[in-house]
Symmetry: C2
Subunit: 453 residues, 2 copies
Amino acid sequence: MKKIVIIGGGAAGAKAASKVKRLNPNNQVELYARTNEIAYSLCGLPYFIEGSVKKIDDLIIRTPEEFEKNGISIFLNHEAQKIIPEKNCILINDNHIFYDELILALGAYVDLPNVENVNAKNIFSLRSLESGTLVKQKMQQSSSVLIVGAGYIAIELIEAFTKNGINVTLLEKNTRIASDFDNDFSSHIQKMIDYKTKGHLKCHFNEHVIKFNVDENYNFVSATCESGNEFFADFCVLATGAKPNVLIAKESGIKIGITGAIEVDSKMRTNYSNIFACGDCAQKYCIITRQPTYIGLGTIANKEGRVAAINADGVGYENFDGVLKSTITRFYDWTISKTGLTMQEAQNHAKNINLEPICSSITKNDKAGYMPNVNKMTIKIVADKRSGEILGAQGIGWSGNITQRINTITSALKSRLTVEQLLHLDLAYSPPFSSSIDPILTACYQLKEMMKK
Amino acid sequence: MKKIVIIGGGAAGAKAASKVKRLNPNNQVELYARTNEIAYSLCGLPYFIEGSVKKIDDLIIRTPEEFEKNGISIFLNHEAQKIIPEKNCILINDNHIFYDELILALGAYVDLPNVENVNAKNIFSLRSLESGTLVKQKMQQSSSVLIVGAGYIAIELIEAFTKNGINVTLLEKNTRIASDFDNDFSSHIQKMIDYKTKGHLKCHFNEHVIKFNVDENYNFVSATCESGNEFFADFCVLATGAKPNVLIAKESGIKIGITGAIEVDSKMRTNYSNIFACGDCAQKYCIITRQPTYIGLGTIANKEGRVAAINADGVGYENFDGVLKSTITRFYDWTISKTGLTMQEAQNHAKNINLEPICSSITKNDKAGYMPNVNKMTIKIVADKRSGEILGAQGIGWSGNITQRINTITSALKSRLTVEQLLHLDLAYSPPFSSSIDPILTACYQLKEMMKK
């Protein structure tokens, strides 16, 4: 029997608490959360704003009462102030809490631009259920919105807002939308988004906000950019990405990795053997490059929370082997998705891990050409010319047709399959689901030809 | 430059002809087909009968004229009578045709029950575009049909017929529907089919047809079974499975494998080094068991035709490494799919390839529980307890949600991933596409627990 303290009630913390209690009901488990919200799905917020999810409470996976019923003590509105590893102690709301094992699930915070009036009223970011409710309320009284950022949350918000009749202006300091995809894919995505939003979206790139302008009540009015351009809207949402929440860890001597997140080993252990970190505050390792990397995603947080719990309990053990940074985003009835390295990333890594990246981009019917509702889909596969190893894939297409391809590659990446091995993959085929030679295989045929040269 | 003769114009033959010409435009390529139909999609027939595919000609992938334009000589209504390997010669329509390389793409035939009046009028099977047209015409004048067989073509035909208001009686000698799935999955499939067809389908199992009854014009009237039961309908479709077409190969000393199909090596070569076989007439090899097996599928035929062509051309080479017998079937807005071994198959192989099969069947939401249109899906994963190696998977669920899971496993099977390796697979996650812990991973967690015991 151990006392296991968990800091943070997001996906990772909630999972860790449940798991560690289930592993041994004698474990004394305490979970401390900074706010009064725990175990909720942040990923669901765009669908609440859009209207698919009717009540904000639907996004609560488990209530504090349910945790308590399972014997887990929940402390809401408790802010961790200081960790004292030498004493196995953490200062929370000015009380010293002792632990045998500590699991840090500190989450991430929105990387707010450091500019004037960024905290004005009607400027929102999405890191809590409460913020989702506020954005939805504001949307319902508005006709226009400014989104700052152009990643997948921005894309999900474009859908949510335009479906609700709101005109969207998007400001992005980068040169293109979805810049975690390759350049050519950004173009595909941009075209698809423009087509679907039919003039209700204006995207402005190379626009770096330097100041938000407010009225006498400190209400957001407009954003001024470096270019001198000023953009007006009823309200503003900052979708400027997330940064790992590591401050109290750092101040306590817990090692921070080169990505700015808490360094962990494969057991999710920090440099203190009884302090674990998991979820958005913890550094990730890329399965392909074997390099540290960072991404904040609920599905990874969940897995890491489970692994941290098993190792904190300590009867068994579990390794977390790393991530592929797989993402998927719905946009109306279209889907964009990626896994592993983009061509750009592969080229960036080319020198330090000895890659010779090649890629093939295939646009092809997503089902047999004679079927109704046949659509074009594009899949791009990146490989290493020398070894033939598949390095990553990006896909855009209608509805579920992309998930099946990207997750097939996810599994191939995990086992370092080569172009040659993937070439004859016996993918399930039937006219409603694929052409008889799947786009993945067509891309591999093309990659094989490239390897010859 | 070589003279390459291809016998058969289905998926494998058409692919082989095109590929061998593309590899070297100087190759003299002749394709001989028994009927006047070549390069068509048999898999599309149920969707033509159903009505999704409007014209039967939409199922033609390439016309004889298009082949001819590419320099491939097409001979329709030419029946191969005898192969004389010693002379590199084949007798076709009483003419001796000489070849440097011969590619046999003889296809398969419907395994008609050997019973009285099986050739009566209004008893159909689906092996040609013409048969598709006839079945559709007959359906449009009818109100009831008897389907003999209960595999995936039968299931696709149930959809086609019931959507057109036809009452279907299904007769199957086996004890259950879709008997290539495990017992428990057959039950899932039966429930789903009964639910969707709302009383317009009656399935009778353990019914072995011993006689078809006809009227004075030799029109089909009813089927009498061993049980003594007699089943009436306006017409009958035999979906009793396919057998490899090997007669002329066998008579010419080409080796037939234990599955009854032509034995081939990884180059798709028969026991004669310049005679290749591909598609439904050729034996397959299971990637998992490494044993000979048989399945007739367009997507495999396509791959094998390509490999046979490359090796017949002989400048390069290519190996075909085998199949996973992956299949997928749409039924209304549901999908059933499988890849690799079922639990039953794994148990059957347990002794000869030293398996200790375990399985986990997970029924779970196919997307985040708070999303609209959330449906339950069931996935069953089979693994080897000793090595942890994944052996196969079966899935049933709504629309595209099954393809993404089964093809993920397909890729895992190819690389012999273990439960442990699949456990943390970084599958692309977003609320419209998955729960944050994908059903695949939940099944793996469960398998891991089983492995401990």
